[in-house]
């Protein structure tokens, strides 16, 4: 059964305002118009989606599937399911929803815009500081359907807070269609810590677009963890639109079995005196494959920009495969841009050192992988997320 307007009608989300239904229909039309990405598109050359049949997952698992957890929130803060916010806070949601990630970049992006379900809307007014992290947990319990959460975060001037999106599925569940997109607006001087942990079941197809827009003097600390799904494609993008903006984009991934992970990143320095720092670190086991392609773009007038981009891959098995494509497009000379990429196995000298101390090979290996991730784990913006991620790695590295 194909996905059509009827599918949208059947899964019609009750109580949604007309403007949102119109947008969903428009996105569906875009989806129908766009071709399936092919191997001739640069972005999809190494990413095979031919095995993905959307129509197999045309049922919606649940309307919400979201658990929000936060301490006492200061006055003025809005935290609620996006669906509710769409009618109750239309003036805040309508101009921002999908204006960062778009709804026509490719088929999956359009599909997400047409069918997104659940997801959070968080609005933190000017000057408000929230100490406790806000936690959004997106759950899936069965396969054969779709779960497409969307997070919309708006930080007012000088606002400060942390937010965690956790995507949770069961490894034993059948394949399904998943996404986990986020749009983050950082107002002047705001500081936002955003963490997403993707641990859908191992059979899922996951497509996510995360994009932040940083106004003057704002700071973003984004941390992405990819562990789940059979196929995962994540775009992580930051637009620095005000001087003094500072984006830190960090990620770790651990791919095992037959998992395939694809990451596309963009550090878009639209104005000068901005800084971005990206580090993606991954370990690969078994026959897993990963693709990293990142771009630093310095626009013409963006003088005194400072950008760093690195992708490090630790290949633990003889049959795993990592591809790394770090790219630069620099249109201004008064900048500092550096990037690097490495793909390699465990350093035999390190292994020898540990083994010569009587540490069994499996333990030594685990220690080296943990050490590899160590420096980036230090950059997790808040304690709660760090504990969660470290525990998760511990279990998975066994």
């Amino acid at each position: 059964m194909a996905i059509t307007a009827a599918t949208l009608g059947r899964t019609e989300l009750q109580g949604e305002p007309g403007w949102l239904s119109d947008r969903r229909r428009a996105a569906l039309a875009t989806y129908e118009r766009l071709p399936m990405p092919s191997k001739t598109d640069e972005e999809w050359r190494r990413t095979d989606v031919s095995g993905f049949d959307v129509s197999a997952y045309s049922e919606l698992e649940h309307r919400e599937g979201l658990k929000l957890d936060a301490g006492r929130l200061p006055a003025g803060v809005i935290l609620k399911p996006l669906r509710e916010a769409a009618s109750e806070n239309r003036e805040l949601v309508e101009p921002r929803l999908f204006s960062l990630i778009g709804s026509d970049r490719d088929r999956f992006n359009a599909l997400h815009a047409a069918f997104f379900t659940g997801g959070t809307f968080l609005y933190v007014p000017d000057g408000v500081v929230i100490e406790e992290p806000i936690l959004g947990r997106h759950l899936s319990h069965a396969g054969g359907n779709f779960v497409l959460p969307h997070t919309l975060i708006v930080a007012g001037r000088g606002a400060r807070f942390h937010y965690l999106d956790e995507y949770i599925g069961d490894d034993s569940e059948e394949s399904g269609y998943r996404s986990g997109s986020a749009e983050i607006y950082l107002g002047e001087g705001s500081e936002v810590g955003y963490v997403s942990v993707q641990k859908w079941g191992r059979n899922a197809w996951h497509f996510a677009d995360q994009r932040a827009q940083l106004q003057k003097d704002s700071t973003l600390r984004l941390f992405d963890v990819t562990l789940g799904a059979r196929f995962s494609k994540t775009r992580v993008e930051a637009s620095l639109v005000g001087p003094g903006a500072d984006a830190e984009l960090k990620a770790i991934y651990l791919a095992s079995g037959e998992q395939f992970f694809d990451f596309h990143t963009l550090q878009d320095h639209q104005v000068g005196n901005t800084r971005s720092d990206l580090l993606f670190k991954g370990a690969l086991q078994d026959v897993a494959r990963t693709v990293y392609a990142g771009l630093i773009k310095i626009e013409k007038g963006a003088a005194r920009s400072d950008a760093y981009q690195a992708n490090r891959n630790l290949v633990l098995s003889d049959h795993a495969k990592a591809t790394s494509i770090p790219m630069l497009e620099i249109d201004n000379n008064d900048v500092r841009c550096t990037h690097g990429a490495t793909v390699g196995p465990i350093d035999p000298q390190h292994m020898f050192y540990l083994r010569s101390r009587g540490i069994p090979e499996a333990t030594a290996r685990r220690m080296l992988v943990q050490g590899f991730f160590g420096d980036v784990l230090d950059r997790i913006p808040f304690e709660h997320a760090r504990t969660l991620i470290e525990a998760e790695l511990e279990t998975r590295l066994g």
Partner: protein, 469 residues
């Protein structure tokens, strides 16, 4: 206090390099590209049947292949408005004295005779589409080295030629390789027998000297087991008004334990489209080194590549690009690891100024089974003003086990500290900048024979003139 000596290269550039000699061609083909022209070229050269067939087949491939959509904008090339074959004089001259005076005048300005007097082993100087002047040192012949133009090689060494021609870069490889195979003319052919080391670099100067005329030279180098050769191609071209196309193909075979170095200083005038395919196949424990400098042309798309076919093979690309006003240097390198225990490095240095654009584009591919390979890529870019642009597009595909791959790149401007240091020593700003730029590309210049290094430093000086105020 001593100040740096002023080298005034720019003032006489026009008469030194900006010359052109009136055209006087024995044969001039019609503009455009069709089977008749290809047949005519082949007939003029009295080629064997198989070459004519290959040319015609390549023309078909050229027509079928789409224009590349990546890289530089090539849509302005009008293939119908190009001369595909020209010959300046009917027969090859054996000695310098026999050369027609016009051509001699051109070479005088390029300094060829002087270079020859010094230590050139053989000069295969290409004027227009065919080699017209060619001398071969006796010693080389005694050793069994063949150094000739590609047309003569087809005539004089048909078996050797047929065995290798088009095997490294088949016509169907890409659109411009197909074009070259269809209309190729001139170029160098080198064969170095087993165990022979050629101690002096073999050089060929070639130039474009007719409006709307393409150069489609074809070079084939075969290094037999345990041999060594260093080939240098350098070029300066007169300045013309309408676009010119240069599309060469260079094929190199480096057999077991041999080593080949291929040095290029490309300084076409800034209306030339320079679309070149260069590739070497390297066998057991052999080494291929590409030393590639791109200073001229309007658009260059060139990615010298090395196919590492057997264990122990080593590939090296050292690339320098300089892009001034209106120029786009899209250069880089490719390392294809087919066999295990192979190593490769790519070092790229690029400089952009006055709105010029340099792009590094590279590909490291490590095939399944090519285990224990090492590859390292380093790209540095220098932007001299805020109108210029620099891009880096490295593609890394690893399909094998226990592979170590690294990529590093930096983009920056001339550092204020370095500039301050030099200027505080009384060196004028412009000179200081030139010194810094020359220092930046030093890893490249130090790999060149002395007179080329000097020439390159002068060219940089020339390019830098007036770039800072």
């Amino acid at each position: 206090m001593a100040t740096a000596p002023r080298v005034d290269v720019g003032s006489d550039y026009k008469e030194k390099y900006g010359f052109f000699v009136p055209e006087d061609y024995v044969f001039k083909a019609k503009r455009g590209l069709n089977p008749e022209i290809v047949k005519e070229i082949s007939w003029m050269k009295k080629e064997p049947e198989w070459m004519l067939k290959m040319r015609l087949r390549s023309l078909e491939i050229f027509r079928k292949k789409p224009m590349p959509t990546w890289g530089a904008d090539l849509s302005v090339i009008d293939f119908e408005n190009i001369f595909y074959y020209l010959r300046a004089s009917d027969k090859q001259s054996k000695t310098w004295e026999e050369l027609p005076p016009d051509i001699k005048k051109t070479y005088d300005r390029l300094g060829v005779p002087e270079a020859e007097r010094k230590f050139l082993a053989g000069v295969s100087a290409q004027y227009e589409s065919e080699v017209v002047y060619h001398s071969l040192h006796e010693e080389l012949s005694k050793k069994g080295v063949i150094f000739t133009d590609t047309d003569s090689a087809l005539r004089d060494h048909p078996e050797l030629f047929k065995e290798y021609f088009g095997t490294i870069i088949p016509p169907a490889d890409n659109k411009f390789a197909a074009l070259n195979t269809a209309v190729w003319s001139g170029g160098s052919f080198i064969y170095v027998p087993k165990g022979v080391r050629v101690d002096i670099p073999l050089q060929a100067y070639f130039r474009i000297n007719a409006e709307n005329m393409g150069q489609f030279e074809r070079t084939l180098i075969i290094c037999d087991e345990g041999s060594f050769v260093h080939y240098i191609e350098g070029c300066t071209a007169p300045i013309y008004t309408s676009d010119s196309l240069h599309s060469a193909v260079v094929e190199i075979i480096v057999k077991k334990n041999a080593r080949c170095r291929y040095t290029t200083i490309q300084n076409w005038s800034t209306n030339v489209f320079n679309l070149v395919t260069k590739r070497a196949m390297v066998f057991g424990d052999a080494t291929m080194e590409w030393v590639d400098g791109n200073l001229g042309s309007q658009i260059t798309m060139k990615y010298p590549s090395v196919y590492l076919m057997e264990p122990g093979a080593k590939g090296d690309v050292l690339s320098v690009a300089f892009a001034g006003k209106g120029q786009h240097q899209d250069a880089g390198g490719k390392m294809i690891h087919v066999a295990p225990n192979t190593t490769s490095t790519i070092t790229s240095k690029s400089i952009s100024k006055n709105g010029g654009r340099t792009s590094y584009r590279g590909h490291i591919k490590i095939y399944p089974g090519a285990n224990n390979c090492k590859s390292f890529v380093k790209c540095d870019a220098l932007l001299l003003d805020d109108e210029s642009r620099s891009d880096t597009y490295p593609y890394n595909d690893v399909d094998a086990e226990n592979v170590t791959l690294g990529h590093e790149a930096t983009v920056s401007k001339v550092s204020d500290e370095q500039l301050f240091y030099l200027m505080s020593r009384g060196i004028p700003r412009a000179e200081a900048e030139t010194m810094i730029v020359n220092g930046f590309i030093e890893p490249f210049t130090k790999e060149l024979p002395l007179e080329y290094a000097v020439e390159l430093n002068r060219l940089i000086q020339l390019e830098m003139e007036g770039s800072v105020g």
